[in-house]
Symmetry: C2
Subunit: 311 residues, 2 copies
């Protein structure tokens, strides 16, 4: 893997994190954005990430639990942490934001993290293909779509695959790597190496799987918990306590749902056509989630979801 120049397309929650983390780990990063307005919206995100990285590093000097795995496998001494803080400043200063396809295309790797809208992705890939040099590999961070759906649009199916990140990548440092049937092994391996190089733990999928690995397990698990609640079998507190005591996990399903956000959980359940019928489990889950969302109890970010997070 001799990637040096990386372009991240999209400045949303994940796009900004991927770009910042890659720059922090020494890559030459360009962020491609659709418009000057997008650039305006992205800038405060990078400022916020700079602050988070600096504060987290400073906190880790006295509190080992504050150390985030994406900063490195081991917490260094104070001098080492100060060196990392300088890396953060260099990363922040080095980020190039552009709306130009030509500038975006000057890259060894493009990571696509734009809206989860197939038409937008196809339009982006097709336009990008006109500018991109032969060597460039493209990875999508899409959570909900499969690379096979876009491989042709990229014009380089063998150099196209998925590299999927979790939110707060400096802390939740996983990179699920998933090709489609036509992805070349050499390019897959390069992206695995790149994931490691930016401090991620690469999690390798051998074939395409909707939801990758984590969501393939998390969704049925959370569904089962939601069904117990919606059917009136037990309360969220009891269900969470059961899971924690029974498996030793630090959090039960309803605390995880509060982190995921109840709106996302609702959007997942209403994708199931059975949710239209209020007599089905899916219908009951949808109705009970909607009542909480309407009450503003959408999870940790709202201060209240299934649990209360107000101080």
């Amino acid at each position: 893997m001799d990637f040096k120049k990386v372009t991240v397309a999209g400045g949303g929650v994940l796009g900004s994190q991927i770009a910042f983390q890659s720059a922090f780990r020494g890559f030459d990063v360009t962020v491609w954005l659709r418009s000057d307005a997008s650039i305006g919206r992205a800038k405060p995100k990078f400022e916020r990430l700079r602050t988070i990285y600096l504060q987290t590093l400073e906190a880790a000097k006295t509190n080992p639990a504050a150390w985030a795995r994406g900063f490195g496998p081991e917490r260094p001494d104070d001098a080492g942490i100060d060196a990392l803080k300088e890396q953060v400043e260099r990363a922040y200063a080095s980020l190039k934001l552009t709306t130009s396809y030509d500038e975006a295309a000057d890259a060894d790797l493009v990571i696509e993290s734009i809206a989860e809208d197939p038409a937008q992705k196809i339009a982006f890939y097709q336009e990008l293909a006109k500018h991109l040099p032969e060597r460039t590999v493209i990875a999508t961070n899409s959570s909900t779509m499969l690379p096979s759906a876009f491989a042709e649009a990229t014009g380089r199916p063998e150099k196209y695959l998925a590299l999927h990140f979790a939110n707060e990548i400096w802390r939740n440092n996983t990179g699920e790597v998933m090709g489609h049937a036509g992805t070349g092994q050499a390019y897959y391996d390069q992206v695995v190496e790149f994931a490691e190089a930016i401090g991620m733990v690469p999690l390798c999928l051998h074939k395409e799987q909707p939801g990758y690995i984590l969501n393939s397990m998390l969704v049925p698990f959370l569904n089962a918990a939601e069904a117990l609640w919606a059917n009136g079998v037990a309360d969220p507190e009891t269900i969470d306590k059961t899971w924690q005591l029974g498996t030793g996990a630090p959090a039960g399903p309803f605390r995880i749902l509060d982190v995921v956000g109840l709106t996302t959980a609702y959007n997942i359940v209403i994708m199931d056509p059975r949710s239209k019928d209020p007599e089905t489990v899916q219908g009951k889950i949808a109705s009970k989630l909607k009542a909480k969302i309407d009450a503003g109890e959408t999870g940790v970010n709202a201060g209240k979801g299934f649990f209360d997070y107000h101080k």
Copy 2:
């Protein structure tokens, strides 16, 4: 709750643990067994539990992590631990083993923990009913059957419900309490209090649910993980690492399966008729589990399952 005398029917893995823990926490415990041969098989189990309790308590003097929650919420000082060790000896000496229904029936609470065979359970309940005083409450520890299936056979449906324990109850101290539609609330509440009195955390179900709370979530979660493996999406090691990194859990699904045992996992999957077809996910899971079972890799107890436990 003024239960004092408790009969545990059955001296299997769970029955012996429930009897021992109840005696340890000060209840007057009789163990009903089907035959003198069953008594012979039960005795070494109680000897083993006595040793485990004593060794665990002694270990907890120097190692706080050895403390088991079923011994009490807080680890006491050495003198307090020595007092608990005397309680263990008293419990061990106090256990009464009998094949007599008359002796078994002299109880405020009967906990049924006999074989998971409906015919055997019905025969036991019907015979017991001839001997039991009016006041006695009956709780079943059945993992796989619902109390509504046996409520009539007990002759006292309002005083019948489920109290479901986890293996190694001195450590995994949960008691899932589940009535059927005809269970009286007063008796439900008494069993909740009893569960607390023997050091369990009562987990209250408001209605009948096959699998209670824990297995209702664990089974679809483990199924999803098995499907990723059987479909060749990812390796058990990768799947476990993904779950641990993504949720902070101490163990992933394949390590849990090693504890549950692959034979149990296999028996669960072949209950699904789709497992007969080798082209289905269920069929693939069954076939891959069977290959491991045939190789003797049945889990932690065998020293090897998905992971290796040999020293």
